[in-house]
Symmetry: C2
Subunit: 347 residues, 2 copies
């Protein structure tokens, strides 16, 4: 099928670029001597995770038990959930999953650790737990003293295995804390097997944190205008494009596309909601739910109603999450239609 | 089933409040002598549209042909698409839909009108077309002179029926243009059967635009913090709540919920991404994809890990669109699980 046979708005993935992105990140991690664990939040598609594993990734990361179940069902067995899994039903399903898969999970509080222990005990299995060390972004995570206590609690628990540290994001600023934790746990006779870092920047700043043993990155697989604005990717590395149609030309200086915030998501960078490949001077200055409002005053040629354009989105992870399917294309041929299998899940 | 049996994050709809919202808006439109056409973008669920029709609505509005197909399949026959439908495949499906349903569509350009005419002719049917009059928001829409020409073009077309004007939003600022169009078309011997207004504010400002014959409103059915901030609804009128779990308490002043931008959407009003019913002083100051970062420094009691809270979202229409299903609850009992049937569609 040709891309012209698709309706708009549709999400296209340039397979050649995606394959190059997968290879490039794996090569970088290999060169750094780091295990690589792609985060599937960006694509939520088992077939793409398998390509990442075939390229050399040691396993995947995902953010929910339900997502892990989708990927485990597809035959992926090494799954990390760098998230506090709270509540008896969720921990029970996590324990189920850990029965046949190498599952690890993070925790930042004794209550959360106890919940994991109860679920593991009920299933008579061992759950691998990473302790979440607080970083500068002040999201989840415990401070150093608490991390030490949590590691000891996990280490002493018959049904839990202390798998190491989880940090997000991982860069130089967290190094003193990581070093202190490793040193103090060493003194307590507890080894830190894994230091799992995360964030796109982690792959560029890994030399600042040599204690890292693995990194989790998601966005690199498609890239987006956020990646470009941070200098982590070029426009040529961006594999995702939203194919949209010009549905209105209300004035010489404006056009309206059929891709609003329910298609492109609400994110904005450098004062635009996306980069239009065919009209680089155009600026998507506003989104309604189903319309993109575009300033074309700086464009030489001006688009006409019915014309199709390609938009590189600002944040690819939240775009995938809006769509039921995305299309893998090579040139102008559609090679594969993927269901976004793990989107919209609750667990 | 009890709401405690659901996992989090889940989207709950308080049925009592939703029913009251449906009645209140219909009563207001009846009192104003306006036909009411709820916009289904807010819920995307045929069962809810049927409740709106049973309350007295004359039909529905939706934004895509694919959405119209879902609602037509559910037996809803009067459907307006206040959107420029562009491209031969889409107009062909629109014509198919118009064969057995009372379908109207808007247009703001001769090219768009010609596309509709071609599709109607190919199916030997008549398509009802509203001309989209440009308003202050500068989205789609033609200026007055162009509206006159478009109306004439439609009126002269054997396969199109000039159904009237579409304006969004509808308030006093557009009245001079509406009056001029009606007057000039009257002089040309063309009647303006419908003046279809839209936007939540339309129901409060309808007296400023007495030429209106119908209005399209979506958000009123659930309401949200945007509605509250505009004074169009009270907290008590908000029927949608996201049930979330406290998954981390990294400091005395912060908590983290399991509902990020992939659950609550990215919208923000009054410096928060949602209102937490149990902790009114809490402020959701930031969202990651799967985490809400909440400032609880102003709260008297502080939540504990594992506790569930109820979040009224900022913009309900984009929240529904993120979820595969939502739950209708009465008190703490789950009365119905609805599939969000028309979400994520392309056409």
């Amino acid at each position: 099928m040709h891309i012209d046979d698709l309706e708009t708005p549709s999400v296209l993935i340039d397979l050649h670029r995606m394959e190059a992105n997968i290879r490039r990140m794996q090569d970088r991690c290999n060169a750094l001597g780091l295990a690589f664990r792609p985060h599937i939040k960006t694509h939520k598609i088992p077939d793409i995770a398998k390509m990442q594993l075939e390229a050399g990734a040691i396993g995947i990361a995902c953010q929910k038990v339900s997502e892990a179940e989708v990927f485990a069902s597809a035959g992926i067995t090494d799954i990390q959930i760098p998230y506090n899994i709270v509540g008896a039903k969720k921990t029970a399903r996590l324990a189920d999953l850990a029965l046949y898969n190498r599952v690890s999970v993070s925790a930042d509080h004794p209550v959360t650790v106890s919940g994991l222990s109860d679920a593991a005990k009920a299933n008579d299995i061992t759950i691998r737990v990473l302790v979440d060390l607080a970083t500068e972004i002040q999201r989840t995570g415990a401070p150093v003293d608490d991390v030490i206590e949590l590691a000891k609690k996990i280490d002493e628990d018959e049904y839990l295995y202390f798998a190491g540290l989880m940090v997000y994001p991982s860069n130089a600023s967290i190094r003193p804390a990581v070093q202190e934790v490793i040193q103090r746990l060493h003194e307590a006779g507890i080894g830190v097997e894994t230091v799992s870092g995360g964030g796109y920047g982690a792959s560029y700043q890994a030399d600042q944190l040599p204690e890292l043993t693995e990194i989790r990155v998601g966005t690199y697989v498609f890239n987006d205008m956020n990646s470009v604005s941070k200098g982590w990717a070029t426009l040529d590395d961006c594999a995702m494009r939203i194919m949209a149609t010009v549905v209105s030309r209300p004035s010489p200086d404006r056009m309206i596309l059929d891709s609003g915030s329910k298609t492109l998501a609400a994110d904005r960078v450098n004062d635009t909601h996306g980069y239009i490949l065919e009209y680089p001077e155009a600026r998507i200055y506003q989104l309604s739910e189903e319309h993109a409002h575009v300033d074309i005053s700086q464009c030489g040629e001006r688009p006409v109603i019915g014309e199709r354009v390609s938009v590189i989105p600002v944040h690819t992870c939240v775009v995938t999450n809006l769509h039921n399917q995305i299309y893998g294309v090579r040139g102008e041929d559609i090679e594969v239609e993927w269901k976004v299998a793990a989107r919209g899940l609750v667990w």
